[in-house]
Symmetry: C2
Subunit: 112 residues, 2 copies
Amino acid sequence: MKYRDRLAIVADVLKAAETGAKKTRIMYMANLSYKLLEKYLTETIQIGFICYEQDQYILTEKGKIFLEKYHVFSSAFSQIEKEYQNMMFEREILTKMCEKPGEFPPRYNVRG
Amino acid sequence: MKYRDRLAIVADVLKAAETGAKKTRIMYMANLSYKLLEKYLTETIQIGFICYEQDQYILTEKGKIFLEKYHVFSSAFSQIEKEYQNMMFEREILTKMCEKPGEFPPRYNVRG
């Protein structure tokens, strides 16, 4: 599984509680240990992203705003990451072109 | 002046020699010390990007191809860098939203 930073874990917890959920469901959906679940539930409640209502955890308005902003950020960031990977590939081609003969077999006829 | 990597210096040397130039002009245009100029001229000649003709250094076909590719790469990379900076700014906003009360003054009315 890809490494998740704090923002991503918070977003996963909020997503799990979007329409209201109990601890076990959030733990499962956000893929967290019980210890981490407790930590993140406590924190997201303190921040005001989640509240405990009618026997379940549910997103607040502030939580919804955060989650929307996070989704916009996250998809734009994935796109940038892909473009950056392509750039690094292009850079590798240029670096190879810059290698001195012997380091890299010459592919072109050299003038002069 | 911004740090230039090997690719950027090679590109600056080639750009300076695009229409033919003597050492002093390349040194000035590529903003290099005499020692570095010698190193990069030797290398770009060995690679086949530049040749010495009629008393001046001039770009070869291979050099032209590299320079074109480099310009495409370089302008796309600058764009990505700008987008990445904007993303980091967005990320900072999200991180601030995720701070617990006391770490950051609350701006929202928190439900529950």
